[in-house]
Symmetry: C2
Subunit: 155 residues, 2 copies
DNA sequence: CTTGAAAATCTTCCACA
DNA sequence: TGTGGAAGATTTTCAAG
């Protein structure tokens, strides 16, 4: 799908705040509401906008601690991978999970209330699947965390 | 702020999909629309719900490549930190940025279209600030990535 | 908390330039 | 593409049980 500069501005706005009404967005991009509404519709249908969600304050829901977990494994069978993947995906404290290139095989971001809770997640991780090496790093300070993707590479 | 089990179910729903109308959410949690609407309002005012955003398809906006960047530094002055922080926060390709405990001082998640684009971000990172050691790992596969926080620790 | 309903606001779509 | 407006939904507020 082709996106012009107005589409990009609309996406930029919606990535910051999806509660704005169509008329207000239209005004900000210099359109009247109908064509703006049509563009947003098109962006959703094309799957550029995948969904709209509420973001919560991590402190206020008591998961203020972020831990990055690096996993190295020796087993590389498909069967093992499927089982490990399913285990990890089912843990709600794991909010990100990647297969990596380089030294580390997998990288996870885990959010928990405290170290004790992390330890329980850790035990759940290593239970069941053979992991060669698991190393945890704690985030001391969150300097930036955004869901807004950069839009400079579109088109 | 105290959250009961109905609030938690409402948050769970809104974390998945913030487009649902109040009446539908009310039905799902077994309430009529008025009290459900009031709860959502309260959750926003209390700052539990911080905002509502549109999520985009990373492939479709041409930033399908995720890179994790580990930064080690020798300079630890406040002045240096402020300057580094400002530099990094201003780079839109950096979507996450943490100060870490342990071996690595900072960890960044960067999204770009390809390796060449990453190299430009990399150069921008090391320009200006003295970095002792910068190591990049590429994500080969995104196994899980969610904005939904676990709600098992509330209350 | 529930129901029911009124008022204000938005979204959605139509006809037309 | 764009504009303006009509029709239909929704949100938001209120009174009363």
């Amino acid at each position: 799908m082709k996106l012009d500069s107005i589409d990009i501005r609309i996406l930029d706005i919606l990535q910051q705040n999806a509660e704005l009404q169509t008329a207000e967005i239209a005004q900000q991009v210099g359109l009247s509401t109908t064509p703006c509404w049509r563009r947003i519709q098109r962006l959703k249908e094309a799957g550029v906008i995948t969904r709209q969600v509420a973001l919560l304050d991590a402190q206020k829901v008591n998961v203020g601690v972020t831990v990055f977990v690096s996993v190295r494994t020796s087993t590389h069978s498909q069967e093992w991978f499927e089982s490990f993947k399913a285990t990890v995906q089912a843990i709600p404290e794991v909010v990100e999970f990647y297969r990596m290139s380089g030294e580390v095989d997998y990288l996870l971001r885990v959010v928990v209330p405290d170290i004790a809770a992390y330890d329980r997640v850790y035990k759940r991780l290593i239970a069941g699947t053979q992991l060669h090496d698991v190393s945890s790093s704690f985030a001391m300070e969150e300097l930036k965390l955004t869901t807004a993707l950069p839009l400079g590479y579109v088109g």
